[in-house]
Amino acid sequence: MIVNVNAIGIDYTTILPELVVTGTAILVLILDLFIPADRRRILALVAILGLLGALVASIPLWGHNKFAFGDTVVGDSFAAFFNVILALTSILTVLISPRFLRARQLDYGEYYVLILAATAGMMLLAAATSLMTIFLGIELLSLALYVLSGFARTQLRSQESALKYLLLGGFATGFLLYGMALIYGATGATTLRGLALVAGSPTAGGNALLLLGIGFLSVGLAFKASAAPFHMWTPDVYEGAPTIVTTFMSVATKAAAFAAVGRVFVAVFPALQYRWYVPLALIAVFSLFIGNLVAIVQDNLKRMLAYSGIAHAGFILLGVLPGTPDGLASTLFYIAAYAVMNFGAFAVVTSVGARGEETANINYWRGLFYRRPFLATTMTIFMLSLAGIPPTVGFFAKLFVFRSLVVAAQTANSGQFWAPLIVAIVMTVVSFYYYLRVVVVMLMTPEGEVTEREPVGASMGTVLAISAAATVILGLFPGVIFDWASTAAGVHL
């Protein structure tokens, strides 16, 4: 028996970014064994080079629609868009890592391996067009992140956070897998192409197994995106994990999860939009409520940003609700904007305070403008952007999402889109309170004598300056990214 290998469409170029990142991870793993401990900066350098390679390898995918490996992955603009966001996020993370890790005696080579592995998983998730590869991507990124959450091995909080994440993540993965099994049972297909065929048939809307499967699938993905009510792990894990891991996790995981959400709901099941609209809209509304309301009463900045992340998951999900490429484009723009501003905000949190002491408490931030004006200024930019105040990119992110809902309400001539829109607008106003509070606190005179005057460091300074500049420049010229997002959102199966 001769197996026709070519029939399944082996095309390594479609997964070249993933391969490059994985290869770099293996390379770093080996290198770590053989280089002396005081030269681990080389690992960071290798990791950055590998990620840059992945970035370059993603660009040829733009504008194509190349399915490969039996329709399980695709190289298209959508994947390229996310690859660029993910690679850039990882590069920035790695840039600011060595200093952070050394200050806390966590400077192990495995850190970079795990970051790279998680990135590879996220990229795979963005390119996945089969339930199998979606699961593979999610597991790859999750396993790496479980370990990263507990990377500060000697700290109880870090261990606790890792264990919680593992247990609850396993729980959610169960839902995800169960949903996939139900979908497979109902349709007999695992590739998204096959699913789309079935979902397009007129009887699909009455197929209870399929709908239940979609429901459970959305539970599993909402968990990864930390959308309420599947968000419970988020504050604890974000708080306990080393801040640099939180920085990476809060941005990259959410982006990757929404890549899967976007592809599954907008590309595969648009015909069933009238069925999945209510559950997803409820998740979005619930996230907006929980995230924004609870963030108000947080005094720990990491927890506050965790809830703000939950709220933003709600905003991002709004763009998916219409089930159209137009709405998805606004979601993609939001993800890009969120990546820039949230990364920046967490990066500031990592660099406030000296030598690893607990600094996320808001009282410590009093008078930061006078002590460390650079950090305070960039933090102000990020807070304004997260709140959605022009001319920052956060304003346009919200504007585009809201606009897509209005357009959807007009074209579908249905009132169902107004309710989430109104909630989102009201909650935007609520969010001003806790974002601007940070700015106010930084302007207040500090209580007592605080003499902390750590230099920011060249790499951190560069990263913060880049993020802050991007937040403002993309706010002044949102058109470029939005054009890209619109192209990327035109996903075809």
Partner: protein, 625 residues
């Protein structure tokens, strides 16, 4: 040409960025030359643009799309035609002179102030160029707000002075009224014409789909006029301009005489296709212009502060320009804009030299002996005075005469406006010679022993160059240059030409003669006249009590409402509502937070319940179709 046009715009921006970011670290000389040089290079680029525009080229080039979403597209495009080229040339050319002059004038500032000044000035030039070169309403408004901002910053440049800060605030508030008008105009335009770029909006075919003189087109033009009136200090939004003289004198020369305040004239001229279709709005422009011209000229006769007199004269001259563009004589209006930029910038800069020489005293009654101390300043100021007063064949005479002639030969009630303009011309000659004779002139007969020093050549050379413009600027063929924009101006026979010219010379001579009689020959008569006029004089001296009126009608009630809100509404109603809402959210938040127990089993339970709800909804509420 698209590159050149962009260069005109970006050079001052580069100058601004360099001086704003690194100005404190740079040597003074470098700061000055970056500030002036960037504008000078922009002038050079504008000249290169001129060569191509004079050859008949036009340009509406889109550099990038700033925003494109669901059919709402805003490009960043520059619109280069003879009109915007003329504006850009005057802005950069006169601007360059004033920047060079500032290097000398601002030499007394410390290093931080010096670089701040040039950064602001370059920011202004950039905003102003954006305003005139922009090819759509969005960037027009951006530039419009930008010049307002830089004007605010420069009026309040000496921020330790309370009066400067108050003046800056007043200018800002007045200008924001205009900005709001502009914004609403843009909204109405977009609603009715579905576009915001000039290439589409100003198409006659498109405009003519609206009924001529209808509500929509009239509303658009009047809303635009609100912006124009505020920016150009016309009645009734004029009160900020005299106060704006608190800024350094080069600022007054550049912003509050030569360029920014004429933006309103540019706006009407640029939108002439709209105004031609809204006769009522155009007539409003003309009436506001003529009345302001006369109104400001009368006030100018009774002031004693040299810069304020010049400020009122600016208002008055811009009134002429408004009159011109209001009656459709766009070419004449733009011509007068150009010559006015020459002689008014010259007058301000010369006045600046005098003020420096008299140790920042601006009262004309304290001045004297200028000719022996500051000969260059003296003669150039005289040239400026002759030009603005309409001395035959000076630039000011040629352009002003065109406006008066256009008004007198036009149909309908505009003839009356022409008569007003003629009276204003006489008043102009009177107050300008009053200023000149009092401050510069006559005391050289009675020996004045004060030793005054002429300003350095970095200050006098630009003035002399502008003086050449004030004399010979009338020979520049602006009319034929602007023909592609406004079309042929109506032909006028030579008989009325000489008749009107003779009339305007006559009133100018009368004005001069009265001033000479009262302030040179028999100064004691001036006091008698003042006494005779009594309340009229007091009214003019107090600028018709407009400031007091606004204070009574707007400011005081505003404060009263503010106090009411502060003392009653705010603490009781608003705070109650806000606090109540906040409290509600806090309670809710605390309830949600209590779910966050930190126990994994509780978290898993919440997840399970959530998944259960979703499954339940999909399973039970969605029955098979």
């Amino acid at each position: 040409m698209s590159v050149l046009a962009l260069l005109v715009l970006l050079l001052p921006l580069a100058g601004f960025l360099i001086n704003a970011l690194f100005g404190r670290a740079l040597a003074r000389q470098l700061v000055g030359w970056v500030g002036a040089g960037s504008v000078g290079l922009a002038f050079g680029s504008a000249l290169a643009v001129l060569v191509q525009v004079a050859g008949g080229q036009q340009l509406d080039h889109t550099y990038f799309t700033w925003w494109n979403s669901a059919g709402f597209e805003i490009p960043f495009n520059l619109y280069i035609d003879p009109l915007s080229t003329l504006m850009a040339l005057v802005i950069t050319g006169v601007g360059f002179m004033i920047h060079v002059y500032s290097i000398g004038y601002m030499a007394g500032e410390d290093r931080g102030g010096f670089s701040r000044f040039f950064a602001y000035m370059n920011l202004f030039v950039f905003s102003m160029l954006l305003l005139v070169l922009s090819g759509n309403f969005v960037w027009l408004i951006v530039g419009w707000a930008g010049v307002g901002l830089s004007s605010y910053l420069l009026i309040g440049f000496w921020y330790e002075r309370t009066s400067a800060v108050l003046a800056a605030r007043k200018a800002f508030v007045m200008n924001v009224i205009g900005d709001v008008g502009m914004m609403f105009a843009a909204f109405v335009i977009f609603l009715n014409l579905k576009a915001l770029d000039y290439g589409t909006v100003l198409q006659p075919d498109r405009i003519h789909q609206l009924p001529k003189g209808g509500t929509v087109i009239t509303a658009i033009c009047l809303l635009l006029l609100v912006g124009a009136v505020a920016k150009s200090a016309q009645l009734p939004l004029h009160t900020w301009l005299p106060d704006a003289m608190e800024g350094p004198t080069p600022v007054s020369a550049l912003i509050h005489a030569a360029t920014m305040v004429t933006a309103g004239v540019y706006l009407v001229a640029r939108m002439h296709a709209l105004y031609d279709w809204a006769p009522a709005a155009a007539a409003t422009v003309a009436i506001i212009g003529a009345v302001t011209a006369l109104f400001a000229a009368t006030i100018g006769t009774a002031q004693v502060d040299i810069k304020r007199i010049l400020a009122y004269s600016t208002m008055s001259q811009i009134g002429y320009m408004f009159l011109a563009v209001g009656i459709g004589a766009y070419t004449a209006g733009m011509f007068h804009f150009m010559t006015h930029a020459f002689f008014k910038a010259l007058l301000f800069m010369a006045a600046g030299n005098v003020i420096h020489a008299f140790h920042e005293d601006q009262d004309i009654r304290h001045m004297g002996n200028v000719r022996s101390g500051l000969p260059i300043t003296f003669w150039t100021f005289l040239i400026g005075t002759l030009s603005i007063s309409g001395f035959p064949l000076m630039a000011g005479f040629v352009s002003k005469d065109e406006i008066i002639r256009a008004a007198l030969t036009s149909t309908g009630g505009f003839v009356l406006l022409g008569v007003l303009a003629l009276v204003t011309a006489g008043l102009t000659a009177f107050y300008m010679f009053r200023l000149f004779l009092t401050a510069f002139g006559w005391e050289w007969l009675g020996h004045d022993e004060r030793h005054l020093h002429e300003a350095p050549s970095v200050q006098t050379v630009p003035i002399m160059i502008l003086a050449a413009g004030a004399v010979f600027g009338g020979a520049i063929p602006v009319g034929s240059f602007l023909k592609p924009v406004f079309g042929e101006s109506p032909a006028i026979g030579s008989a009325p030409f000489f008749g009107v010219a003779g009339l305007s010379i006559l009133v100018a001579v009368i004005g001069f003669a009265v001033a000479y009689q009262l302030y040179a020959r028999r100064p004691e008569m001036a006091a008698v006249v003042r006494r005779r006029l009594g309340p009229v004089h007091a009214m003019v001296e107090h600028k018709y009590y407009v400031d007091e009126l606004y204070d009574l009608v707007f400011v005081r009630p505003g404060f009263a409402i503010g106090r009411l809100l502060r003392d009653f509404i705010e603490p009781r109603v608003i705070d109650g509502l806000v606090d109540g809402t906040a409290e509600l959210f806090r309670v809710e938040a605390a309830e949600f937070r209590s779910l966050q127990t930190g126990r994994v089993r509780n978290y898993a339970l919440v997840t399970l319940v959530g998944a259960g709800f979703i499954a339940g909804y999909l399973f039970f509420f969605v029955r098979p179709a």
